[in-house]
Symmetry: C2
Amino acid sequence: MDIELAARQLEALGSPTRLKVYRALVRAGHDGLPVRGLQQRVGIPASTLSHHLHRLILTGLVVQERQATTLICRAVYPAMRSLVGFLVDECCLDEQCGRAGEAA
Amino acid sequence: MDIELAARQLEALGSPTRLKVYRALVRAGHDGLPVRGLQQRVGIPASTLSHHLHRLILTGLVVQERQATTLICRAVYPAMRSLVGFLVDECCLDEQCGRAGEAA
DNA sequence: CCTGTAATTCCACAGTTATCGAATTAGGTG
DNA sequence: CACCTAATTCGATAACTGTGGAATTACAGG
């Protein structure tokens, strides 16, 4: 995992709106959510949502698939997995980030 | 862990410069690093570094402690731990983010 | 082809961020 | 106190971000 990619993905998640969007998608599971459903859940105008989705897609955290007239959005789980892996491997020392030691 | 705090911390880490700063601090371990040493490692002007450090400190990811004329910076490991915890607990579904399934 | 729904793209604007030289504050030493 | 090093704060500027209404593209059905 490249540090530049990690930074871009962290930045993509680093907006309350986008984090809520992403979380909604993760919670939607494998079936994903249409943009419309996402919009109702997050409660923002369509154009704003579209911009945020675009950013999430650019970093590889989200993909879209067209089903007739609706676009289904899905979280890309492997991307999140490697991002978390980066944080743990590159940014944490084992002793300090391991569960042992102190209960946060 | 509040989603707003998570977003602010993700944003703080979501800049290549700040991510490098943070990583350097984590790697420095418990002893931390003086601002000067950090500056040499990351290679940016002091004032720029100071701003980035300030942002990291505001989100609770980094702390500073004065030792005479030098300021020692340290990564706050529990903060990273709970951020990673948030990503795993709130943004990942067990089945999809568990190590089982596929090897990323 | 006309219509309707889905979603994006266009456009504009206010607010924020990154950057860094210069000035300033903090703290120790002769 | 004068001086030195460490680091921050000030000030200014260019670039980017978030936001959302309006126009546009994409697709299906009658």
